[in-house]
């Protein structure tokens, strides 16, 4: 088990390194000098060729790429000293660079924005399961009935609307049109500042994520449940004289959850890596919005950091999925 985890983490590290290289290379070899956006911003749009050359020199873009990448990696593990314009900044490990746009250290921003994204993701993910699984089970138990058909087709309609449109409409109707009191006050307040405001501010984003995302969980759960309920061991459970609820939940749902958990692990990773649409529409200063703005501003270090962060989250969540899988299904042996 331990050896397996170590092996998977090492493999994950390789993935993360490759992704960081790819992101680094993408900007380095891009059509425009990576120093130009910095130069434009620092000189107030008066970036002459001469100034650009100075920036390129001071930012290290005249050095070979592997040397700069080496410095970057070194910064992540032991920290480094950054040169920004004329000043020198100590960047302690893990150093992900300096955002010229925000004039902050990237790691500090990442840490600062993480709680918002985690809050959004956790609430949304909770609703995925809390809504999706019971509705899926209900539909599977009444397979072929009117209830089942109504649920399945409603959810098909919901999930065929693009998410950004769904969230935007929800926001417009809840805040602008109907001015629903609790839902209207969306926005992020740290939990530690005011738990009530934290919850009410995130309620609408949670509901949007949850209602939209739960449709696919309903489908997964329904499908897995229909399959599980037709298994021989369900007939055995009934033949033992177990009550219907025990048969459905302890025997049926227990099996049906395995594929659902697998998908959920991946989805949770995706959510944690940044809920871009949700953060943008509800103005939540999380990692998704941060990354989106950085792409617009060509803020290389921030983009690289969000990509790296996403990669780490995905590697870890994949590993967790496999570990949970081995707990859920005793036939799975990790090696």
């Amino acid at each position: 088990m331990f050896a397996y985890i170590v092996k998977r983490l090492l493999a994950g590290l390789v993935v993360v390194v490759l992704i960081s290289m790819a992101v680094f290379a993408l900007f380095w070899f891009g059509p425009e000098s990576p120093a130009r956006p910095v130069c434009e911003s620092k000189t107030g749009g008066k970036c002459t060729e001469e100034r650009l050359a100075n920036f390129e020199e001071s930012l290290g873009y005249n050095n070979p790429i592997y040397e700069e990448y080496g410095k970057y990696v070194k910064g992540v593990f032991v920290g480094r000293e950054l040169t920004v314009g004329t000043q020198k900044i100590d960047c302690d490990a893990p150093c992900l660079g300096y955002s010229f746009k925000n004039n902050t250290l990237v790691w500090d921003d990442l840490v600062k924005r993480m709680p918002a994204t985690v809050s959004v993701a956790a609430g949304g993910a909770f609703l995925y399961l809390a809504l999706g699984i019971p509705i899926g089970v209900a539909a599977a138990r009444r397979r072929g009935s009117l209830t089942d058909k109504v649920l399945v087709s409603t959810f098909l309609v919901v999930s065929s609307v693009p998410y950004y449109l769904f969230a935007l409409l929800a926001w417009i109707y809840c805040t602008l049109v109907f001015e629903i009191p609790v839902l209207g006050s969306s926005g992020y307040t740290p939990f530690t500042d005011n738990p009530w405001k934290w919850a009410t501010g995130l309620l609408l984003p949670w509901l949007c994520l949850g209602l939209f995302g739960c449709t696919q969980y309903t489908r997964y759960t329904r499908g897995a449940m229909v399959e599980a309920l037709s298994e021989d061991y369900i007939r055995t459970a009934k033949a033992k004289g177990l009550p219907a609820s025990t048969v459905v939940y302890r025997h049926g749902l227990r099996s049906a959850l395995v594929p659902v958990v697998t998908v959920f692990g991946i989805d949770l990773g995706v959510l944690l890596a940044g809920t871009i649409f949700t953060e943008k529409i509800f103005e939540i200063q999380g990692i998704g919005l941060w990354g989106l703005n950085a792409v617009g501003a060509k803020d290389l270090q921030v983009v690289a950091a969000t990509a790296l962060f996403g990669a780490v989250v995905m590697v870890v969540s994949n590993l967790l999925v496999d570990l949970v899988y081995s707990v859920l299904d005793p036939r799975v042996r990790l090696s």
Partner: protein, 366 residues
């Protein structure tokens, strides 16, 4: 089973399980499928009934009805099933639950699929015990599970009780399945093809085990199989099913030595036998089982029957023969128009499949 007073039926209404005129129908988009049609039989305590037939003949469907395992919203069941005197057709779910796994238990074929892959064997046994003994503690249930595993011949039951089904061998899984079926000491045990997924040596062990346990628990046993060898070994009585109907019903030895229905002949002709004359032929029944959506007119077996020419007129194709005693006493019922089945069997069937036995049988008849 005792002789019945009415000649046209073998039913003993005092038996532990009495099934009368059972009909099971599934409505489908293409029309109703009558999987079991007017089936009657009874099994007494300590007795074994073998139900034989091809896939789709209704043998499993009829016995699942005994435990009320069909989805009642998709199934129409009529007739009467009495378990220990209690009518179970129309019985509500909670009443049915008290019977299932308690006074009537079922063991299934393919124990790997029939046991839950995610729960330990012991936990699955204990669950079956606790549901009918709500006051039993966890430790009691575990002790009972170990005791039952020991009883069915699982070595080191106190260790294996914590294994998962996939850690058991095929034979052991079937033993565990049997242990689970017997854990509440049922008076009726239905074994649905209990040896189908096992290799031959293990099959024999499992059949021996079932016989031992039946003697010990004195339960009524129904063994569902398509294997006449299993029937010959286990059953006191045999019921042959075809297309949802009983086509022959009688005491085991009598029925297997003097079958009176061409379908039973077909089943007998298609069994390979290692000790048989090497000249003996293996004769499959031609054609396929009929669609229950659109069953043949008259006798369901007539399109595949080689002996319809011996029946006057087109009786086989027009009229469903009744289940009546043949020429060998009131306790051997058959559903066939043939007037002299015994003769035809000896002359045409036995001569093909076991020429050395023809002489014997003729002596026997004389």
């Amino acid at each position: 089973m005792t002789q019945t007073s009415t000649p046209s039926t073998r039913l003993d209404t005092d038996d532990f399980l009495v099934v009368e005129n059972l009909t099971v129908e599934f409505p489908t988009p293409d029309g109703p499928v009558r999987a079991v049609n007017d089936l009657s039989y009874s099994v007494g305590l300590g007795q074994t009934l073998g139900i034989v037939g091809e896939s789709g003949s209704g043998k499993s469907v009829s016995s699942m009805a005994v435990l009320g395992l069909h989805d009642m919203q998709r199934t129409k069941i009529t007739g009467s099933i009495r378990v220990g005197g209690q009518e179970i057709i129309g019985l509500d779910e909670s009443g049915m639950r008290k019977i299932r796994g308690n006074s009537a238990a079922m063991i299934f074929q393919d124990a790997l699929a029939a046991l839950h892959p995610f729960y330990r064997v012991g936990a699955q046994l204990a669950e079956a015990y606790v549901v009918h003994h709500p006051s039993a503690s966890k430790r009691d249930a575990r002790r009972k599970a170990i005791e039952m595993l020991d009883r069915v011949g699982i070595p080191q039951p106190d260790k294996r009780v914590d294994d998962f089904p996939h850690q058991f061998s095929g034979g052991m899984r079937q033993r565990a399945m049997i242990a689970m079926g017997l854990i509440n000491d049922p008076s009726l045990l239905i074994a649905d093809e209990p040896t189908t997924a096992l290799d031959v040596t293990v099959q024999a062990q499992i059949l021996d085990l079932l016989q031992d346990l039946q003697r010990e628990f004195n339960s009524a046993v129904i063994i569902i199989t398509h294997d006449l060898g299993v029937v010959a070994e286990m059953a006191d009585e045999v019921l042959v099913m075809y297309a949802g109907r009983c086509v022959e019903y009688g005491a085991c030895k009598e029925l297997l030595t003097h079958p009176e229905m061409p379908y039973t002949w077909g089943l007998l002709s298609s069994i390979p036998d290692v000790t048989a004359d090497t000249n003996a032929r293996l004769i499959p029944i031609p054609g396929n089982p009929p669609s229950l959506l659109d069953p043949p007119s008259g006798c369901s077996f007539h399109p595949r029957c080689a002996h319809t020419d011996k029946v006057p007129g087109a009786l086989c194709a027009t009229t469903l023969p009744e289940l009546l005693p043949g020429g060998r006493g009131t306790s051997h019922l058959k559903r066939c128009h043939l007037a002299n089945p015994d003769e035809v069997f000896a002359r045409e069937v036995l001569a093909e499949i076991a020429p050395d036995m023809v002489e014997e049988t003729s002596d026997d008849r004389a």
